[in-house]
């Protein structure tokens, strides 16, 4: 690709290069290419780039669909800083993400590394672990309500067998998020499949060499498997974190349906839930746009930090990326 975009004559001056570049627009193929790109270009401008600009502009207004709009300057961003619910929802979101992402990664890694070691039944297990992913997220929210119900839920019945009385999962603010995370772990299937594929890609010779050196199974896992699949781990780390910050469906179903209003505590208020309520329940579109940009900024910062911190832990075969 790099070769194709380099001018044929590297000694040509900038003017010549620019002219040659512009000449590209006159070629028939270019017209075909842009013709083919038209639908995507239209969608990109109308549904992505345009809305991004619009959302930035809206965040400086008090737009509410119904009443007249005023320019409010930085007022929305100032209320973000002073709104206790924003802080609460951010704390909840980060807390849940910080719990869920490592738990999800560790659990799927455990399942995948066992799966990689067995000769038979691999396909069966992989299917079993993947099936919950196919359940609609609303269903996961409903299942959570029923399985973790304090009085007759399955989890508490199971705990009763070993004479432990479970906490009130859905009303006790300390237990809401952990129990939600446990429920989310039911859907680790995608990661199991990913990790399994990555582990199976590790060259066999590395294990043989390690075995000759007398490395224990744990050492082989720690010093061969982990570094070799670190790009996949890193990738899922970033993707899971981004989706953790945007968690919505399951929690909204469980705690923000008409029947639970009033009973739910702030402990389940997540950032996107608050954003959704502000935008589409109260129609504070300007404020919600500011919230959206804050969230975007948060995701960017977290991702960049992850990339910088992980750089020394991720091993790329061949050249460094």
């Amino acid at each position: 690709m790099a070769v194709a975009s380099t001018p044929r004559n590297p000694t040509a001056g900038p003017l010549t290069r620019a002219r040659r570049w512009a000449a590209g627009f006159r070629e028939r193929d270019t017209w075909w290419a842009y013709g083919f790109l038209l639908p995507w270009l239209f969608g990109f401008v109308v549904f992505t780039a345009g809305p991004m600009v619009a959302s930035a502009v809206l965040s400086f207004t008090d737009y509410s669909v119904i009443s007249t709009t005023h320019n409010v300057g930085l007022a929305n961003y100032r209320s973000i800083a002073s709104d206790p619910y924003v802080l609460k929802s951010l704390k909840n979101t980060l807390f849940m993400t910080a719990m869920w992402v490592p738990a999800d990664m560790a659990f799927s890694l455990l399942l995948a590394s066992m799966l990689a070691r067995i000769d038979r039944l691999g396909g069966f297990f992989r299917t079993v672990f993947y099936l919950p992913v196919l359940t609609p997220t609303v269903g996961v929210g409903i299942l959570y309500l029923l399985l973790f119900n304090g009085s007759y839920g399955l989890i508490d019945r199971a705990l009763a067998i070993i004479h432990v009385s479970g906490p009130f999962w859905q009303t006790d603010p300390t237990w809401i998020k952990p129990s939600l995370v446990i429920m989310l772990l039911w859907q680790v299937g995608t990661n199991v499949v990913l990790y399994l594929a990555a582990i199976k890609n590790v060259p066999q010779q590395l294990y043989e060499a390690a075995a000759i050196d007398g490395a224990s199974a744990w050492r082989r896992f720690k010093d061969v498997t982990l570094p070799m699949i670190s790009p996949t781990l890193f990738f899922t780390f970033i993707i899971l974190t981004i989706s953790g910050i945007q968690l919505f469906d399951q929690v909204y179903t469980a705690f923000y349906n008409p029947s639970s209003q009033g009973t739910s505590t702030d402990a389940s208020l997540l950032a996107v839930i608050y954003l959704f309520q502000q935008a589409f329940v109260y129609f504070h579109m300007g404020f919600a746009s500011a919230l959206a940009w804050m969230l975007f900024g948060l995701i960017m910062v977290v991702t960049v930090v992850q990339i910088v911190v992980s750089r020394r832990f991720v091993y790329y075969e061949g050249a460094a990326k």
């Binding site: 590209g24 549904f47 359940t135 309500l145 029947s259």
Partner: protein, 311 residues
Amino acid sequence: MTAASQSTRTEGVPPDVPPVEPVVPDPEGPGRSPASLARQAIFVVVLLAFSALFVYPFLWLVSASLKPRAYVFDNRLIPSHWHLGNYVDMWHAAPFLRWFGNSFYIDGLAALLVTFASALTAFTFAYFRFPLRNFLFGCVLATMMLPGAVTMIPVYLIWHHLGLANSQYPLWASNLFGSAFYIFLQRQFFMGIPREYFEAARMDGDNYFTMFWRIAIPLAKPALIVTALFEFKAKWTDLMAPLIYLHTDSQFTIPRGLYALLGQWAPSAGGHGDYQLLMAALVLSTLPMIILFFLGQRYFISGIAVEGRKG
């Protein structure tokens, strides 16, 4: 690049979309010594225990859907009182037939549109060389990283101004223009098709569109199926967009309908707690996905593997 992509290249399969590996006995399999067999047995037992955890909620769900209302929460796996009638009653209790119809129609249309629109864009990025190509492809990649929350409000306002904010159009219409992740995925695939195929077609007098339609599309079928399956699944489970755009019973999709019923039927909202019907509906709404998964299992699995490789 990894060993896998080297081996795929020699087989003439486009790189980066791995041939779906059937579940072969793992080459890493540590010989056949009694010790390793014993270790494998332990793994199988542990995995079976975990499988039980994964499957149990499903079994509980199916079992609860077969019980009369009073027995839904007795937590017996085999109902003491059977009530198969739940699966009949649910159709009368709420417009499920309508909702299933809506879901199939919207999700199917969305999957079909996004597949072909993304394919056209992906083919263009893979085959043509044109000014600004790298910049525009950078835009595709950037879109992939953009959280939906940022564009959600302005996109709603667009539909609002078109007078379509209370309709089903917003749920599928933007799929007409392709979607970044699928464009990325399919481009990988198109780049693996040898250029000579296209040159040969050009000799035969094909124009670029017939080349796309007659050569690229048939060869990229696996990638297209992956796209359609993924999009169908994403739409089938999506709650946020239906919450924003659908406000009347008759427009609802399955997740939106289930969400509404959960609020409506709960005792705290004045309902009778008809959870047995909700369970039956939940079972039926998961079923199409499970059937699709078994029909297209190899595509699902290879699609996930590609997803992992974009990092």
